[in-house]
């Protein structure tokens, strides 16, 4: 298949050698798991268990709140000890509603009937089962997988792209999954093809993972609908929009929430694996592969981790961190978030915990002035002018920032990576997004307050009016009485 091209992008050093040759190991079960109720895009899950309740492994803990939401299952058997507020796996470190489970170490699965053959099921039923298993996009966006599949089938999507490009430096969890569990991934993708009623699956892997490509080619050799493609290594090839452009030359129209109009749906290899577990073995999504790496980690590894394990648990299992640790990230260095604390849990979308040293982060230096060299523009895969946007952010010119395409920015960080002056470009844009969201919230609040005010005023006005009406009636009655009296007098 002839590959097309996407503009921009950068070539950060891969640094995958730390963990790429480490086979997947299981993290020993932690005594306590912290399960945020919102591990996905959409509404948070609603707890269906109560504090003190004994739960079996894989039992439903919280159900999907609405159409766009995802349920949450117990990663192990144990007792629910709390449903409260704990540190979110996010830079803000703000507490979010979290379910706390004390494990009993028995790893008890409930008795269940083996699931029926997925290919005998109606495609919509397959999607429903995927949704019920709590599966979300495992590549980071964490959008409920079932919603994406149903929408794409209705839109007549013809091609499933199984995304194994894994373009972030350091992260090797997908690489290991592809090398070790290629058959399961291909099986999961076949089930997704059925759910989509699509006719073709393209498995896309960057060419820095030859073993994974080889394993996948062998695993899908029997199915002519599959094709494994080796892609040139470049960041951000793993972005769905850019992967579609690379494979087909098509661009997803701006403002579209999904990629259905291109006839293509992109799902991560981890998602395909989770689908296989759910539909073949009846297992909900309760664990995932996480890469623990970085120069400050004693023994970098790829771990199969129950959801809710803390970053501290993972790092401790990998031999702890050295003194030259400067920053711990959740995710890769290009788009990852610094963790506010090591007491933050692994969620469905966590792909890496990186403990980085100063040497890896590069010298921390104040930005030089922008010299308009245009390198950020060259690097931007969305065709934006990051330098111009950042200049406007600096002056709090939100309208200008939006006019230069803030909403088209995918926060990939290529611009800041490339800037010789080290202008914090993507960082400024993130700041602008935050400020604008804050502004919207404030506006909504102001609107709401104004509505309340208006309602109150209307109510007061009505009351005044009612009072006035009553007074007028009383006056009228009095007048009438007086007039009557006068008439009576007259009559007399």
């Amino acid at each position: 298949m002839r590959l097309h091209h996407f503009r921009g992008g950068v070539h950060p050093p891969g640094r995958k050698q730390f963990s790429a040759d480490q086979p997947i190991q299981s993290l020993p079960l932690p005594a306590r798991l912290y399960l945020p109720l919102q591990q996905h895009a959409g509404g948070p899950a609603l707890p269906v268990v109560s504090v003190g309740q004994q739960v079996a492994k894989g039992e439903l803990l919280a159900r999907a709140q609405s159409a766009i939401s995802a349920p949450l299952h117990a990663p192990s058997s144990g007792i629910v000890v709390d449903i409260g507020q704990f540190t979110a796996p996010h830079v803000s470190g703000l507490p979010i509603p979290t379910l706390v489970l004390d494990t009993d170490g028995e790893e008890r699965w409930p008795e269940r009937e083996p699931p029926p053959d997925p290919f005998g099921l109606d495609p919509e039923e397959v999607a429903t089962r995927i949704g019920d298993a709590g599966i979300v996009g495992m590549g980071g966006a964490s959008f409920p997988a079932a919603v994406k599949l149903s929408k794409a089938r209705q839109a007549g999507v013809h091609t499933l792209v199984v995304n194994g490009s894994e373009c972030e430096p350091y992260v090797t969890c997908d690489d290991r999954l592809m090398r070790e569990r290629a058959a399961e991934i291909v099986d999961g993708a076949t089930i997704m093809l059925h759910a989509l009623q699509a006719s073709r699956a393209l498995v896309a892997v960057e060419d820095n993972k030859p073993e994974a490509i080889q394993a996948l080619r062998e695993a899908c050799a029997h199915d002519p609908r599959f094709q494994v493609l080796s892609l040139p290594t470049r960041y951000p090839t793993g972005s769905a929009k850019h992967l579609i452009q690379l494979l087909t030359g098509l661009e997803c129209p701006a403002g579209e929430p999904g990629t259905e109009v291109t006839g293509i749906l992109v799902h991560n290899v981890g998602t395909a694996y989770a689908v296989q577990r759910a539909l073949r073995h009846g297992r909900p999504l309760i664990s995932r592969i996480v890469t623990v790496s970085g120069g400050a980690v004693a023994e970098p590894r790829n771990l199969e981790v129950p959801l809710g394990a803390l970053a501290a648990d993972l790092l401790a299992y990998c031999g702890g961190v050295s003194d030259d640790l400067v920053r711990v990230l959740s995710g890769g260095p290009m788009m990852g978030q610094p963790l506010p604390s090591l007491q933050t849990p692994i969620v469905k979308g966590s792909n890496g915990i990186l403990a980085l040293t100063a040497a890896e982060l590069g010298p921390e230096q104040l930005p030089d002035p922008c010299v308009r060299c245009g390198r950020c523009t060259e690097a931007c895969p969305m065709g934006l002018l990051p330098g111009e946007m950042a200049r406007r952010v600096q002056h709090d010119d939100w309208a200008g920032t939006l006019a230069f395409g803030l909403n088209d920015c995918m926060a990939c960080g290529s611009c800041a990576y490339a800037c010789p002056s080290r202008v914090p470009l993507s960082q400024s844009l993130a700041h602008a997004r935050g400020a604008l969201a804050e502004q919207r919230r404030a506006e909504q609040k102001a609107n709401y307050t104004r509505q309340l005010m208006e309602q109150r005023q209307a109510r007061l006005a009505r009351q005044e009016q009612a009072k006035a009406d009553a007074a007028a009636q009383r006056r009228a009655a009095k007048d009438k009485k007086q007039r009557a009296a006068v008439t009576e007098e007259d009559d007399e």
Binding site: L250, P253, M334, G405, P424
Partner: protein, 374 residues
């Protein structure tokens, strides 16, 4: 962890390029032409270079100090040094010291700091200073001399050099000075001589390319400038857009006119090897601060520079037009940047969401080779 919340955001990696590195690369690319200029024109050329660079650095420090800004990063990033070197290379090599001081100070103070310092200036500071000098001191700025290279016996000694730069100026003797090639052509054409009579004895393409000719301190050797420029391209310190567009435009225009009347319009090769064209295309028009951001914009900018160079050289009042051309196009840069933005992914050139055509969709499905409705 990090002091600034902005710096703590993603990405947590950097490509490693820095401003110093970029400026250092450009300076290194200029080194051969600079050394050759000093070799060709002796001590006075070196004196002038040092005077200008020193003036620029002192001026920069003074401006930063007056603005209450810290000296360290701005003074050391190499941009001031580069401005000074570019200006020096564009001047007559035996110009007196005060030309250097006035030019250097003007470049830094008016060319750069009036606009707000590094990254803010609208015009290329070195070219702005060159134009100011040319307009204010036409005699000093157009006194060229034949090459008098080191070891040839014709070079002035160190003391004579000091005298030329800091003393009474040129010890004018007949036969020592001459016009540049372009100046000579202009004068000849002004007297209605055909090129066939003007050029012989003055123009030997080989020597001109090597730089064995009168001219500005660092602009005589087309070959060394070309090598430096290609090295910059190879190092990706500059983009190909501006040099290619600028040189291409000059070559196309020169070819067309030369072909239409070879006795009135000089041939493209002469344009290429003489004056500051190569210097301008690789080192001056490519100044990031004063050129457009998008590729498309850079191509328009480069083509504009090339066209203006040709027009000024051929019909304008000055034999050389690179400085004017670049500065004029600098003025157009904000406009170019405004209208020629890159196309955003998923949008049309007009910024509307770009629809996916049914045909493209079918082609992507692999069901249709795109040869019409199925």
């Amino acid at each position: 962890m990090s002091a600034s919340p902005l710096l703590a955001g993603a990405p947590h990696a950097h490509g490693g390029d820095s401003l110093q590195q970029l400026m250092g690369t450009v300076l290194l690319a200029l080194a051969p032409a600079t050394l050759y200029g000093v070799f060709l024109f002796g001590w006075p050329a070196l004196n002038l270079l040092l005077v200008i660079v020193l003036t620029c650095l002192v001026g920069e420090a003074l401006c930063l100090w007056l603005a209450g800004r810290s000296l360290r990063p701005a003074l050391l990033d190499g941009s001031t040094l580069l401005t000074g070197v570019l200006l020096a290379l564009s001047l007559p090599p035996w110009a007196p010291w005060w030309i250097g001081v006035i030019g250097g100070a003007f470049a830094v103070v008016v060319g750069k700091h009036i606009f707000g310092g590094v990254g803010q200036n609208l015009f290329n500071p070195a070219m702005l200073a060159r134009i100011m000098l040319l307009v204010s001191f036409p005699v000093e700025m157009t006194t060229w001399l034949e090459p008098r290279p080191w070891f040839s016996g014709t070079t002035p000694s160190f003391l004579e050099g000091l005298h030329i730069t800091f003393g009474g100026g040129l010890p004018m003797a007949d036969g020592m000075t001459g016009a540049t090639l372009l100046g000579h052509v202009r004068t000849g054409l002004g007297l209605s001589q055909p090129l066939g009579e003007i050029l012989p004895g003055h123009y030997q393409p080989g020597l001109a390319a090597l730089g064995w000719t009168g001219g500005s301190l660092g602009e005589t050797s087309a070959l060394l400038l070309l090598l430096g420029g290609l090295w910059l391209l190879w190092k990706r310190a500059i983009a190909w857009t501006i040099p290619v567009a600028m040189l291409g435009t000059v070559l196309v225009l020169a070819s067309v006119f030369h072909w239409s009347d070879p006795e009135r319009f000089v041939d493209p090769l002469l344009h290429l090897v003489s004056g500051s064209l190569l210097m301008g295309a690789f080192f001056i028009a490519t100044d990031p601060v004063t050129s457009p951001l998008s590729r498309m914009g850079q191509i328009v900018f480069g083509a504009g520079c090339g066209a203006l160079v040709y027009v000024i050289r051929t019909w304008g009042g000055y034999p050389e037009g690179v400085a004017f051309a670049v500065v004029l196009m600098n003025a157009a840069t904000p406009l170019i940047d405004h209208y020629l933005r890159p196309r955003v992914y998923g949008r049309t050139w007009l910024g509307q969401p770009k629809p996916v055509s049914e045909r493209a969709r079918r082609a992507a499905a692999g069901r249709d080779s795109g040869s019409g409705p199925a």
